[in-house]
């Protein structure tokens, strides 16, 4: 029978390469599990409704809004946060490019922007089309594609032009 009395569950997931076992309230989002339970505060809470993208992390290699996902639903998943991409001593190329091009001002949306930006390049290379793809059989890397695919990440400081420049540089470096 369904146990409808338990409001907590246990879940095991791998976060940035380390296995984590959590016994948590079913209501805890992946975002809050990362920040409040695992103390990985790089991932940010903006709107908490999937509209701003500040909470973007990779789950099994794909970017998602961690605020719109329950932690208990991630049994066996591999989660990568901005902390898992690089460190101050050993930056991920996208982190280095954001610094070089000033792809931020206040920095609050930046972890989400960086996780999204890295995934966008991978999605284009995997041939996944977007709303602005002209020929669905031939997905190409261009400014319009980068802009459209970043529409789920809001930057209230308006660093968009510099974020685009950072992404283009990484796309060229890794072409």
């Amino acid at each position: 029978m369904t146990d409808t009395t338990r409001s907590r569950s246990s879940v095991t997931m791998t976060v940035n390469g380390t296995e984590q076992q959590l016994d948590i309230d079913n209501r805890v989002t992946l975002l809050d599990a990362l920040r409040e339970h695992l103390k990985l505060t790089g991932t940010k809470k903006g709107c908490d409704h999937g509209q701003c993208g500040a909470c973007t992390v990779m789950v099994n290699g794909r970017r998602v809004n961690s605020c719109l996902s329950l932690a208990v639903m991630h049994q066996g998943d591999e989660v990568t946060t901005v902390e898992g991409l690089g460190s101050p001593e050993d930056l991920h190329p996208m982190q280095a490019a954001f610094i070089e091009h000033d792809g931020y001002q206040c920095g609050y949306c930046t972890p989400g922007q960086i996780c999204s930006a890295k995934s966008v390049l991978e999605e284009i290379r995997a041939g996944i089309p977007s709303h602005v793809t002209r020929d669905l059989a031939n997905v190409v890397m261009n400014d319009d594609e980068l802009r459209e695919r970043m529409s789920g990440n809001i930057c209230r400081c308006g660093a968009y032009a510099n974020i685009l420049a950072a992404m283009k540089q990484v796309a060229e470096e890794t072409a």
């Binding site: 029978m1 369904t2 146990d3 409808t4 009395t5 338990r6 409001s7 569950s9 309230d25 079913n26 209501r27 989002t29 908490d48 409704h49 999937g50 993208g53 973007t56 794909r62 970017r63 998602v64 809004n65 719109l68 996902s69 329950l70 208990v72 639903m73 049994q75 999204s116 995934s119 966008v120 999605e123 995997a126 041939g127 996944i128 089309p129 977007s130 709303h131 793809t133 669905l136 059989a137 802009r147 459209e148 695919r149 529409s151 789920g152 990440n153």
Partner: protein, 316 residues
């Protein structure tokens, strides 16, 4: 958020049976719409049935030459599937016109069909809404209704169906396959799947309390030139004011379905028959009996002009 219990299930039968025996149970898959609504107190399930382990994440070919899309196929994967891109480009275009990359990576086929309206009064729990709280009234009728329905609504509700994917599926004659707790299955044409609000706007579709979507089927490809045009307040990541899904054959015949106009994807087969005569003829039939408000009357000429732009080949 109200407290709830949670279980993971491994088969569709288990999921349907959990729905049937547990009061206040809801299915959760991608969670991108449900969790948002739970945070706002608009949805308050007592129990969540996590169906992500069901394995219904494949797109198979049917004996009739069509496709059978598992309910857990993520929006990104549906849009990128080589067969859908080549044979049902309308569906790829519609899926890509919706949401953001992050959301499409998570949102599922079945969940997308079941997404709730974005009517501002449905979202505002301080306001009356017959869909959220049956019998409480409709604040939209005398409120800001710019985004809301011009046809198919009632005195109880003028909320629109918000999605893009289902509009393309309606034009493609898709059907929804389901299973119930007793194991019975059925296939429901998409038009019959969605209900108009009438006097019970809280009932949005044909699903029974213990019924679960397992697949969406597409008939064999119909060819033609396929376009999905979405008109919205921003270039990306916004809901449609008006959207138009068109399949057009070289002899001028075709099909058209509209989004953003009604409580469900809006298509009138009689209007399809007028396609060779042009956009005015089509929209006159498709929107006969429309009852717009002062705020949303603009949608009628907008839908007609959007269709005219496609039919007269003046680009997107």
């Amino acid at each position: 958020m109200k407290s709830f219990s949670y279980e993971r299930v491994a088969t569709a039968a288990e999921a349907a049976s959990a729905l049937g025996r547990t009061k206040g149970a809801k299915i959760i898959a991608g969670g991108t719409n449900l969790l948002d609504l739970m945070k706002l107190g608009i949805e308050a399930p007592d129990h969540l049935v996590d169906v992500n382990g069901l394995g219904l994440d494949k797109i198979e070919e049917t004996a009739e030459g069509g496709l059978r899309i598992g309910t857990l196929v993520r929006n990104t994967d549906m849009a990128a599937d080589a067969r859908i891109r080549a044979d049902y480009p309308l569906l790829t275009r519609a899926v890509l016109a919706g949401a953001s990359g992050q959301l499409r990576n998570k949102a599922t086929t079945g969940g997308n069909l079941l997404q709730r309206t974005r009517c501002p009064y449905f979202y505002d729990t301080a306001m009356p809404c017959n869909k959220r709280k049956p019998g409480s009234g409709c604040a939209a009728l005398s409120g800001a209704s710019r985004q809301l329905a011009v046809i198919g609504g009632s005195e109880a509700c003028i909320a629109t169906y918000p999605g893009d994917m289902a509009v393309a599926m309606r034009a493609l004659d898709a059907a929804v396959e389901t299973v119930r707790a007793d194991g019975t299955t059925r296939s429901i044409p998409l038009d019959q799947f969605y209900h108009l609000p009438g006097t019970s706007p809280d009932v949005e579709n044909d699903l029974a309390a213990d019924e679960l979507i397992t697949h969406v089927t597409l008939p064999a490809p119909v060819g033609g030139e396929q376009t999905y045009t979405k008109i919205r307040d921003r270039a990306s990541y916004a809901f449609a004011l008006v959207s138009v899904a068109v399949i057009r054959h070289s002899d001028g015949s075709g099909r058209v379905a509209f989004g953003g106009m009604a409580p469900k994807p809006w298509r009138a087969e009689e209007a399809d028959a007028a396609m060779a005569k042009g956009a005015e003829a089509v929209t006159e039939i498709a929107f006969a009996g429309a009852n717009p408000t002062e705020d949303n009357a603009f949608k009628l000429p907008l839908a007609q002009r959007a269709l005219a732009k496609i039919l007269h080949g003046k680009g997107e």
